[in-house]
C-alpha cells in the first residue's frame, strides 16, 4: 500500500519536474526571440546586436543540429553527440582519478595536521593557476611519457575535479558529533574502523555535493584539455572550430554549446541518481 503510494508520488514528481523544465525552455525562447524582436524594431545594438549574424533565431540553432555538419556528412547532432560521448569518457576517467585523489588527500589531511599544514597551501594554490596554463604542459609531458592522448586529457580533467572533493571530504569526515567519536573510542576501535564505520558514512552527503561540482568541472577540464593537443574526436576541437566560423555560421557554435551543456547535465544527473541510491533522503544536502 505504502509502496504504491510512494510510486505515485515519485512519478508525479517526474511529471512536475518535466513540466518545469519545459516551462523554463519556453520562457528562455520567448526572452531570446523577444529581445531580437524589440531590439531590431528599435534599432538598438547594445549590449548584443540582435542580427542573425550574432544572435541567430532559436529555430535556426535547433535546425543546425539537424543539418549535415559537412557536405554529405551526418547531421550535426550525430557528430556532436559522438564527440560528447568521447569527451564524457575522458571526463569520467578524469573524474574517477581526481575524485579518488581528492578523497584520499581529504583522509590524509584529517588524520595528520602536519600533512594538512604542509600540503594544503599547495592544494589551494593549484586551483588558482589557470587550467589553460597547465594543460599544454601536461600534454607535452604525457606525449614524452607515451601516455595515450585521451588519458592526458583525463589528467587535465582530474586536475579540475580533485579540489572540491578534498575540501568536502575533510568537512564531512570532521562532521560526526564529539560523542560519536568518544563512542567509537569506548569500543576500542582501530582508526580504520572509525574511518569506515563513522567518518566516511557521515561524510557521504558532503562528498556527493562535491562530486556534483566535480562532475561538471571534469567536463570543462576535458574540453579545455583537448584544445592544446589539437585533439580530434571530442567536443573541444569542434567548439574551437565553430567559434572560428562564428561570423559565417553562428548557429553551429550555439548548437554545439547546447550539446556540451547536455553532456554535463547527463553526468551530474548520474551522480545525483547515485546519491539517491546511497544517501538517505533525510541526510542529503540540498543542492
Amino acid at each position: 500500500m505504502s509502496e504504491s503510494a510512494g510510486k505515485t508520488s515519485s512519478s508525479s514528481k517526474v511529471v512536475r519536474g518535466g513540466f518545469s523544465i519545459l516551462a523554463v525552455i519556453v520562457a528562455f525562447v520567448i526572452l531570446w526571440e523577444g529581445y531580437k524582436f524589440i531590439w531590431t524594431a528599435l534599432e538598438w545594438t547594445e549590449p548584443v546586436n540582435p542580427s542573425n549574424r550574432t544572435l541567430p533565431h532559436t529555430w535556426t540553432i535547433v535546425g543546425a543540429l539537424f543539418q549535415p555538419a559537412q557536405r554529405n556528412g551526418p547531421i550535426l547532432l550525430f557528430v556532436e553527440l559522438k564527440a560528447a560521448i568521447f569527451t564524457l569518457r575522458e571526463a569520467l576517467v578524469g573524474f574517477l582519478i581526481g575524485g579518488s585523489i581528492g578523497f584520499w588527500l581529504g583522509v590524509l589531511f584529517v588524520r595528520s595536521q602536519t600533512a594538512e599544514r604542509a600540503f594544503m597551501p599547495y592544494v589551494v594554490a593549484s586551483q588558482t593557476v589557470p587550467i589553460l596554463a597547465i594543460a599544454p604542459m601536461v600534454v607535452v609531458w604525457g606525449g614524452k611519457l607515451d601516455i595515450p592522448q585521451w588519458l592526458t586529457v583525463s589528467v587535465i580533467a582530474a586536475y579540475l575535479t580533485f579540489f572540491p572533493v578534498v575540501i568536502n571530504t575533510m568537512r564531512g569526515l570532521r562532521s560526526p558529533q564529539p560523542t560519536a567519536v568518544e563512542l567509537m573510542r569506548s569500543y576500542a576501535s582501530a582508526p580504520r574502523e572509525v574511518l569506515w564505520k563513522l567518518q566516511v558514512p557521515a561524510a557521504m552527503p558532503y562528498i556527493f555535493t562535491a562530486l556534483k561540482v566535480s562532475a561538471a568541472a571534469s567536463v570543462i577540464g576535458a574540453i579545455v584539455g583537448e584544445l592544446p593537443a589539437g585533439f580530434r574526436g571530442g567536443l573541444g576541437r569542434d567548439l574551437l572550430q565553430f567559434s572560428q566560423q562564428f561570423t559565417a555560421a553562428p548557429q553551429k557554435l550555439f548548437a554545439s554549446v547546447i550539446v556540451a551543456g547536455l553532456a554535463g547535465m547527463v553526468f551530474v544527473g548520474a551522480i545525483t541518481l547515485a546519491e539517491h541510491r546511497f544517501v538517505a533522503a533525510t541526510r542529503r544536502q540540498s543542492t
Binding site: T179, L183, Y187, A188, S189, K197, P201, A280, T282, R283
Partner: protein, 256 residues
C-alpha cells in the same frame, strides 16, 4: 573482592601554566559489583569529567584509578564498560538493529551471533518492533533505549551514563528510570550515572555522590536505603522525600 571502580586521590587538571584549570581534586571512590552510583552536582563540578576518566576518554593528572583492578586504558581495550550519552548518538544511516550491532561489528563478533544478540537486546529494551526503523523515525525516549541496548550488547560489567535522560520530558524520563532499574536488576550490571536531577539520583541509586565545583570534588556520600524493588509507590514514600531533602541540603552546603 575487586572493586569495579577504585579511585584514590584522583585529580584532573586541564591545560597548563597560568591557564591551568583544576577540574577535579582528591576523588576517592570505591564501587562494588552491582552498585548503582549517581554523581550529582551543579554544572562545572566535574561529574562528566570523572565519568570520562573512568571511561579512559580522559587521563587523570594525579592519583590512582583502577577499573576492575586494571588501568582504565586496559579496561577500555578489554571492553569492560558500555557508555550512554545525553544525546543518543545513533548513527542515522544505520537501522536500529544495525546501530545495536555496531560495537559487535567492531569487536569482530560473527554475523549470526551479532544478529542474535541484537535481537535479544532489542527485546530487552522492548523495541523489537522497531528493529528495521531508522533513528529519526523514533521518539527521543526510544532512541535513548536503543543507545542503552547498544551499550549492553557486548555484555560489559559496567555501564557509564552521562545525563542520559537530560533531554527527555518528565513523563518519558520517569518511564526510562523504571526501565533502567529493570535492566539493572535483570543484568546485575554496575552503573555510574551522571545527572542534574535530585529525584532521579535518589530513585535510581544505591549511593548518591554529591559533588561541588571549583575544584570539583566529592563533598558528601548519601546511601540510598530505599527497598531494592522500586516503583511508583517508592516515589510517594516518606523515606524517598527525606532522601531527596538530604541530597538537596548537601548540594546547598556545597554551594555556600
Amino acid at each position: 573482592m575487586t572493586m569495579v571502580v577504585d579511585a584514590r586521590g584522583v585529580g584532573k587538571v586541564f591545560g597548563g601554566g597560568a591557564e591551568a584549570v583544576q577540574a577535579l581534586t582528591g576523588i576517592d571512590l570505591e564501587m562494588e559489583t552491582g552498585d548503582f552510583i549517581s554523581l550529582i552536582g551543579p554544572s562545572g563540578c566535574g561529574k562528566s569529567t570523572l565519568l570520562r576518566l573512568v571511561a579512559d576518554l580522559l587521563e587523570p593528572t594525579s592519583g590512582e584509578l583502577l577499573i576492575n583492578a586494571k588501568s582504565p586504558s586496559r579496561a577500555r581495550l578489554d571492553r569492560d564498560y558500555g557508555m550512554v550519552f545525553q544525546s543518543a548518538t545513533l548513527l542515522d544511516w544505520r537501522t536500529v538493529r544495525k546501530n545495536v550491532e555496531l560495537p559487535l561489528e567492531i569487536m569482530d563478533v560473527p554475523t549470526e551471533e551479532r544478529s542474535k544478540r541484537a535481537t535479544e537486546m532489542l527485546d530487552l529494551v522492548q523495541l523489537d518492533q522497531f528493529a528495521d526503523h531508522y533513528p529519526w523515525q523514533l521518539s527521543g525516549g526510544m532512541q535513548q533505549r536503543v543507545a542503552i541496548a547498544r551499550a549492553l550488547a557486548f555484555q560489559p560489567s559496567l555501564l557509564l551514563m552521562d545525563e542520559p535522560f537530560g533531554a527527555l520530558d518528565e513523563m518519558t524520563r520517569e518511564l526510562m528510570q523504571q526501565e533502567v532499574l529493570r535492566l539493572w536488576g535483570e543484568t546485575g550490571i554496575s552503573v555510574v550515572f551522571v545527572t542534574h536531577s535530585i529525584p532521579e539520583a535518589v530513585f535510581l541509586s544505591t549511593r548518591v555522590l554529591v559533588m561541588t565545583p571549583r575544584p570539583g570534588t566529592i563533598n558528601t556520600e548519601i546511601v540510598i536505603d530505599l527497598p531494592a524493588e522500586r516503583d511508583l509507590s517508592t516515589r510517594e514514600s516518606p523515606r524517598y522525600f527525606e532522601l531527596i531533602t538530604e541530597v538537596r541540603e548537601a548540594l546547598r552546603r556545597g554551594e555556600s
